[in-house]
């Protein structure tokens, strides 16, 4: 895995952000995990990083967030030429098929329901990181 790999976590809940960051620290020290708490702040953060030329390689997106929810963020991000190529994986508690369908329709690259155990969560993240940073080729 390259040091240059970076992930943006868009998650309003501090507990979920804490768990995710902890798991990432355990399984992928070389991946830079950035965290924003809302959709608006995520778009601002991306705009800044776009100017700097350091956009993340993957975005993990929660759906249920205050003000701008995950769907709106997804819609706006996929509406921007430069951001469109960044794969967005939805990481949410919702197992609703409606949410799944809508997320994919808006351009999500994956949809993961947050598991209820730390072991499962760790396992999921390992597979996710392995998939996106080892198995598949991403756009430049």
């Amino acid at each position: 895995m390259s040091q240059a790999n970076s992930v943006l976590l868009v998650e309003d809940d501090q507990a979920d952000a804490y768990i995710t960051q902890k798991v990432f620290r355990d399984i992928a020290e070389d991946i830079a995990l950035s965290h924003t708490e809302t959709g608006e702040s995520a778009l601002e953060w991306l705009a800044t990083r776009q100017k700097e030329g350091t956009l993340p390689d993957l975005i993990l997106l929660d759906l249920n967030m205050p003000r701008m929810d995950g769907f709106t963020f997804l819609e706006q991000a996929k509406g921007q030429e430069r951001l469109r190529s960044i794969p967005v994986v939805v990481l949410t508690t919702s197992a609703s098929q409606g949410d799944v369908d809508r997320a994919y329709a808006l351009g999500a690259a994956g949809y993961v329901v947050k598991p209820s155990s730390i072991d499962d969560f760790t396992h999921y993240m390992q597979r996710l990181v392995g998939y996106w940073f080892s198995l598949v080729k991403r756009p430049d």
């Binding site: 979920d16 508690t93 919702s94 609703s96 209820s116 155990s117």
Partner: protein, 611 residues
């Protein structure tokens, strides 16, 4: 034959039958009234005839009276009578003395007959023996008088001709007594009667003799007297028949007993008109049926023509009125109600008549408006409930899941004391259950929101697919369960939902298996006229009859979670799936030997579908 029961057919048919029956009844009543009318007409004409006959007789008798008065004033006639009456004994009779006077009297009588005073005149002496007579025959006049030879009476005829006299006198003239003439009604000759007026004397006593004046009552007289439609028959006692111009109508028992008759020939009335010296003349007056039949036929044709004309106008107009003001508004109303029933709640804008149908349309519009308001409220309520469901299933899931995660972290902590670890275990256990309940509620709500895609489904294929699922396969193998599936019918349902249904039911059988039995599940089907019946039998722990309904309630559990896992969702979801396709699931039988669930599938394909 649904159209036979429709108002669009019944109302016009009712009008058709009613109007047609009314017209026919009217025609019948008019026709019936017509017969009464002609009967009354005949009766009136015959009554008029009776009056005219009486008038004729009275006038004729009056004339006879006047003429008799004049005749009796003739001195020679009085002298003759007086002379004859003094010597009217056969043995003393002197023809050369009395015959000239008798001849003179006979000639005077003959002159009287010839000038039309009477048709016949008879002169009797005080003993009521004929002295002289004169009469009008068929082709001549004649007169005669009584003479005696050797005390034998002899009729001396003065003006007899070679023609056959119309009056034939018997040798014995005794029957020529006026009383006999009257009583025996002898005044009929060739069916023609004599009107008879008898004068006993000049002063009203029987001192001299009797003068009998007679005149024929001819058919011509009656014919000119009577109304044209009435014909008179006169009773002829010797022939025992009613006579009219050579036509004889025999007297029947009915004629004798009834004064008024009506038969195929017409209306008949028998009357007896009194005469001064007779018992009366009996007439049979006839109003021939052909007269009133012609008129009746003409009137009947007129009535029928009027009925036809009326029918031609009334029936189409009635039919049009019913169609225009009843059937058409009803159809509009029905169309509007159908439209409303299919969800289009717009008010009916058709123009309805200002009557009960219009009021009904207004009521339907008001009902539609109410339905629309209620639907709006229900939609809002449903939306709120949906939102609440989403909040419950999503927002509640997050904290429960996090509780699980952090309790796991506490459990894994090396610094955690025994009691703290036990508390963490409880937190993890309860959060796990809370998470399962919230997830169950989510699944239940999602199923509620999804309309089934109804299509013919092969149940065997659905169950095979369910049993072939790796997870299901693993669960079955874990408990060594045996599952037998018979040949099942095709049913109208959502294949995906049925997959969920059988997954839930097989899981239910495996979950509540008897600890001392090898789990066995059997699925078979039966069919009746209305429904397909599918049975799922297990040999699990079973349930008491009083718990059968509770088993289907949402999150209803009959056992504690310590002994059996689960949250009480499976059977309630199974019932919801079945009821979405107008079916149902019930406990057919349950006991210590296990449970038999019964699935009822409707054969009606007219479900509300999400297709």
């Amino acid at each position: 034959m649904i159209w036979l029961n429709s108002l669009a057919f019944k109302l016009p048919a009712f009008v058709l039958v009613t109007v047609g029956a009314s017209l026919l009844l009217s025609a019948y009543l008019i026709d019936h009234r017509l017969i009464s009318y002609h009967r009354q007409t005949a009766s009136d004409l015959i009554d008029e005839s009776v009056k005219r006959i009486k008038d004729v007789l009275w006038q004729a008798e009056t004339e006879l009276f006047d003429e008799g008065q004049w005749l009796l004033q003739l001195e020679s006639l009085q002298a003759t009578l007086a002379l004859v009456n003094n010597f009217q004994r056969a043995e003393d009779y002197q023809p050369f003395v009395f015959n000239p006077e008798k001849q003179i009297a006979a000639e005077q009588l003959l002159n009287t007959v010839q000038n039309g005073t009477a048709s016949a005149i008879f002169l009797f002496d005080r003993n009521n023996e004929l002295i002289s007579y004169a009469q009008q025959g068929a082709h001549h006049f004649e007169s005669g008088f009584l003479s005696y030879e050797n005390a034998q009476p002899k009729l001396v005829i003065n003006s007899a001709t070679s023609d056959t006299p119309s009056l034939r006198y018997p040798q014995d003239i005794t029957p020529w007594h006026p009383k006999n003439v009257v009583n025996e009604r002898y005044y009929f000759v060739d069916g023609t009667p004599f009107l008879v007026k008898s004068y006993r004397n000049f002063e009203g006593t029987n001192a001299i003799g009797t003068l009998v004046l007679a005149r024929k009552l001819t058919h011509e007289m009656l014919h000119t007297t009577l109304p044209s439609n009435v014909k008179a028959y006169l009773y002829h006692p010797k022939q025992q028949a009613f006579m009219a111009e050579g036509e004889a109508k025999p007297v029947t028992q009915k004629d004798a007993s009834t004064r008024w008759q009506h038969d195929n020939d017409g209306f008949w009335r028998r009357i007896t008109v009194g005469s001064t010296y007779t018992d009366g003349l009996t007439f049979m007056l006839h109003y021939p049926s052909e007269h009133y039949r012609v008129e009746q036929q003409a009137t009947r044709q007129g009535v029928l023509f009027a009925v036809l004309i009326t029918a031609l106008f009334v029936l189409p107009i009635s039919f049009w009125l019913v169609r225009r003001f009843m059937v058409a508004p009803l159809n509009q109303l029905m169309h509007g109600v159908n439209r409303i029933s299919y969800g289009d709640k717009r008010p009916m804008t058709d123009t309805f008549p200002n009557n009960e149908l219009g009021q009904l349309a207004d009521a339907v519009n008001a009902m539609s408006e109410q339905l629309k308001r209620r639907e709006t409220r229900l939609k809002r309520y449903a939306h709120e409930m949906e939102r609440l469901g989403y909040v419950m299933t999503h927002h509640f899931q997050e904290p429960s899941r996090r509780l699980m995660l952090f309790s796991q972290q506490l459990q894994a902590s090396d610094t955690c004391q025994h009691e703290d670890r036990q508390a963490a275990d409880f937190i993890h256990q309860q959060s796990t259950r809370l998470s399962a309940l919230v997830d169950g509620a989510r699944r239940y709500l999602e199923l509620s929101r999804t309309l089934p895609r109804i299509e013919p489904v092969n149940l065997n294929k659905v169950i095979d697919k369910v049993l072939a699922e790796p997870a299901m396969h693993e669960r079955i193998n874990r408990v060594n369960a045996n599952i037998y599936v018979a040949t099942l019918p095709r049913v109208q349902a959502d294949a995906s939902h049925l997959g969920t249904l059988f997954t839930l039911l097989v899981d239910n059988a495996l979950c509540y298996r008897h600890p001392e039995r090898v789990p066995f599940v059997e699925i078979w089907a039966a069919e009746d006229t209305e429904r397909n019946r599918v049975y799922i039998k297990d040999n699990g722990v079973g349930m008491a009859p009083e718990h059968h309904q509770q088993a289907f309630s949402l999150f209803g559990r009959l056992v504690t979670s310590d002994h059996y896992p689960g949250i009480g969702l499976g059977l309630s979801m199974a019932r919801q799936i079945m009821r979405q396709v107008d079916g149902d699931i019930t406990v057919d039988a349950s006991g210590p030997a296990g449970t038999v669930f019964l699935l009822l599938f409707s054969k009606d394909t007219n479900h509300e579908s999400g297709k």
